[in-house]
Every structure is written in C-alpha cells, then in structure tokens.
C-alpha cells in the first residue's frame, strides 16, 4: 500500500506490495478463492447497506407480502378449503406469494446500478461473475428474510399445520437459491432494456416455471410428512444448472 495514490515524484510511486501486473506473479488458488469470496461479500454488503438506508424498497416488499398473505387468508382460509385439497392449494398459494414478492425486489439488484449510473464504476473494479455472485447472495438473503416472515404468517393465518418444518425449510432454502440465481441473472440481462420490468416477468416465467412447479410439488409432499426426495433432487439439479449457466453467461449479460 502506498502512502498516497497520487504521484508525488517524477515517477509513479512504487507500492510496497506490488500488484500482479508489476510482478507478473499469480496468487495461489486458495487466496484467490478467499479474495473472490470477500469481493462478492463486499458487493452483497454494499447492496444491503444501500437498501437499509433507503428502507422504502425493503418496506414495500414486506408490505406486499403482508398484504398478499392477509388477502389470501381472508379469501380462502382457514375453513374455505376442503381438507384433502388444503396442502396442494396452500403450497401453490405460498409459492405464488413468494414468487411475486421476489419479482418485486430481486430485479432491483442490477437495474438500480444502471439507473443511477454506477454500473461503469462497478464494471471497472469487479468482473461480471463476482458482481453476479455478490448480488445473488444479497437477493438470496432477501428471499430468505421474506420467507422467514411470510411462511409462518401464512401457516398461522390459514391454520396450515406442517408436520415437517425441516422438510419445508429445505424446500425454501433450495428453491429460494434457484429463484435468486435466475432472478439476479435475468436482472443483469434486462437492466439496460427500456421495458425492463415487463421483460423481466416475460423471460422469468418460462425459466422459473420448472423450479416453481418442483417447489410446489416438494412443499405438498413436505406438508404430508415425508422428506420430498424426488422434487428436491429436481430442485438441486436446477440450482446446479442455473449456477453454471449464470456463471458462464454473466459476462455476456452484464458487460457491454
């Protein structure tokens, strides 16, 4: 680290710890991985700090969730559903609410960078893959926070008894990850489009449909008791495929 970033002498200052372009050396794999994680975390923490300072965006997502759950509980529950259809209908309604809450908040990750003009500065310091990783991490945490509030409220208001909370938590954690990865990637893709909100919903529908159908099937099974092994395997496979595709295509989606 130099005492000052600015040149004080005829030649530029020589950093005590020379950057790689000065030395030609490559860092070892372990420290590079740690470095990548800390960079992605820095982007995630920045997004969180921005949202917490503005508050309005996060508040609107939670308000949307609260309104949806309340409306659904008044319209169909707890006694408006026949017992045999309850798990299926409640699972579908829960994921519809979670999907639309996510669709309200998750695309902001990249759209805001373009709208405020900070995208160039971000592109100058971090590769697309790390930016995508950091923003996916923030969106995933946001999704889990939404789910942590919405699911208990939904279960209480609709008197939906779940014998296996652990199985439902596994479904939420795994499907929420896929939802976050795909939503964040699509946000990068549509960030510079003129009709970004419409485009996001239109593109996300076919891409997220397999995930949402598997998540609903897994939730129905989790509500019945056993661990939903088959739909969970599908979700894990979807998560893996989505992560690989997003990583490989991040640069094409985010950079010029």
């Amino acid at each position: 680290m130099t005492a000052s970033k600015f040149p004080q002498s005829p030649s530029p200052p020589v950093p005590q710890s020379l950057p790689d372009w000065e030395t030609g050396r490559r860092g070892d794999g372990g420290s590079r991985t740690t470095n990548s994680l800390s960079r992605a975390w820095a982007i995630c923490a920045k997004d969180a700090a921005q949202e917490l300072r503005r508050r309005i965006a996060i508040a609107s997502i939670f308000f949307f969730a609260a309104t949806s759950v309340t409306l659904v509980s008044f319209a169909v529950g707890p006694f408006g559903l026949p017992l045999e259809a309850r798990d299926r209908v409640c699972s579908a309604l829960l994921w519809i609410i979670l999907f639309f809450c996510a669709a309200t908040g998750l695309p902001r990750a990249f759209v805001r960078e373009e709208e405020t003009g900070t995208a160039f500065a971000l592109r100058k310091v971090a590769p697309a893959s790390l930016t995508l990783a950091g923003k996916t991490l923030f969106n995933y945490i946001l999704f889990l926070a939404i789910a942590a509030v919405t699911v208990p409220a939904f279960a209480i208001l609709l008197e939906w008894r779940l014998p296996s909370a652990g199985a439902l938590a596994a479904v939420l954690v795994l499907a929420g990850y896929g939802l976050s990865v795909v939503s964040t990637f699509l946000a990068a893709l549509v960030a510079r489009a003129s009709q970004k909100n419409v485009l996001f919903v239109v593109i996300s529908f076919p891409l997220l449909l397999p995930l949402l159908l598997s998540a609903i099937a897994a939730t129905v099974e989790a509500a019945a008791g056993p661990v939903p092994a088959t739909p969970l395997r599908v979700i894990v496979a979807y998560d893996g495929a989505a992560t690989c595709a997003a990583y490989l295509l991040a640069s094409a989606a985010w950079e010029d």
């Binding site: 005492a3 372009w21 800390s38 921005q50 405020t116 003009g117 592109r123």
Partner: protein
C-alpha cells in the same frame, strides 16, 4: 520495473449509421496522449473501449507489461478511468464509496490512505457528506481519486476538467503532469488548455 504499453489496433466503432472512427491504431507506453475531436466524434467511446468498458465493432486493445499481455483483474486495475458516465453511490460518503470499490476490486485500501487521497483533491471537508449532496466539481474531484485508486500505470481521463474551479484544475494539472513523467496518461477533451505539450495526438472525426 517493466513498462506498461497500451496498444489499439485497427479500432472501429459504429452504432447505428456510419462508424464513429475506423481502423484507428496507436501505441503508447509513457507520456501524455491527447485525444481530440469535435463533439460526437467518439472520444468518450474510445476511452471506454480502452478502459475495457465497451467493445469495439472490430479491432482490439491490448495492455502489456513487458511482453506479457494483461488480462482479467490485472488488466482491469492496471487501467484507471474517469469519464462523464462515471457515477458514485449517492447514499454513501466519498470514503464509503472508495472503501467499497477497493474491496470489490480485491485490493482493500486502509482508511488513512483513502482519506489522504481525498485530502489531496480538496475533499477533506466533505467526509461526512453523502455524495448525493456533492456539487458537480466535488464529484469530478472524486472521479479523479477513483481513477488513481489502484495506482494504475495507465490512466484514461475523459474531460477531467469539467465542472472544476481554478483550484480543482490546478490539482488535476499537477497530477497529470506528475503521472505522465513515469506512466501513461490518455486525456480526452474539447478544451486545448487541458493538453500541455502532448507526446502524441489522436485526432478523431477528421
């Protein structure tokens, strides 16, 4: 210490319509390269391409350290950039912005170093203020700090004097004069006063 060379080969950039510039080539490793041209001649686009922030329609840009071509993070951080399209997070202070960018780049800087950089461009009195409350000149000064943040051997400055008062102009002139003696500065501007005896001139839109 190996010299860093910036080379543009046969660069062409076209949006809709005729190309902004066509088959543009130059090579520089030290001194000041002045990029001149009328409004809309492609100065900003050229500097973005050199910075790796935009792709040319054809041609290529390489940044070499000795014989080795820099790629990825090495290339990204070896080329400092500031331009009209550069913006900062308005909810954060200047220090918070710089702290974030240094961490996201994987080269976290200590706060005293960042504070010293801000002091050198005259932003010491605005440390607690959000960037959203900065004047145009203050944002321009912060852009200069950003371009120097990773001590890059190649510096691309697009209209660095816009919005600056006399003191701000003199700070930038001093920094450019010092940097061009040991490294490379590519400076684009419409104002001939911004170039003091350039070592090379790239004229666009002739």
């Amino acid at each position: 210490m190996l010299a860093t060379t910036l080379e543009a080969r046969d660069l062409t950039k076209a949006f809709a319509g005729p190309p902004l510039f066509s088959r543009l080539s130059f090579r520089a490793e030290k001194g000041l390269v002045a990029v001149k041209g009328r409004n809309g001649s492609g100065k900003t686009t050229l500097l973005k391409i050199l910075a790796g922030l935009a792709h040319p329609s054809s041609g290529s840009v390489s940044v070499r350290r000795g014989e080795k071509e820099l790629v990825g993070d090495d290339r990204r951080l070896a080329v400092g950039w500031s331009g009209p399209d550069l913006a900062f997070y308005e909810d954060f202070s200047a220090l918070e912005n710089l702290r974030f960018f240094s961490r996201a780049a994987g080269r976290p800087a200590a706060d005293p170093d960042l504070l010293r950089s801000l002091e050198e461009v005259g932003l010491a009195g605005a440390l607690d203020r959000r960037v959203g409350a900065f004047s145009t000149g203050m944002k321009q000064r912060l852009k200069i700090v950003f371009s120097f943040l990773f001590d890059p051997p190649v510096l691309l400055l697009d209209e660095p004097m816009i919005g600056l008062d006399a003191e701000g102009r003199s700070i930038v002139e001093r920094l450019v004069a010092a940097r061009r003696r040991g490294g490379l500065v590519v400076l684009a501007s419409n104002d001939p006063r911004d170039f003091a005896n350039p070592d090379q001139v790239v004229e666009l839109g002739k």
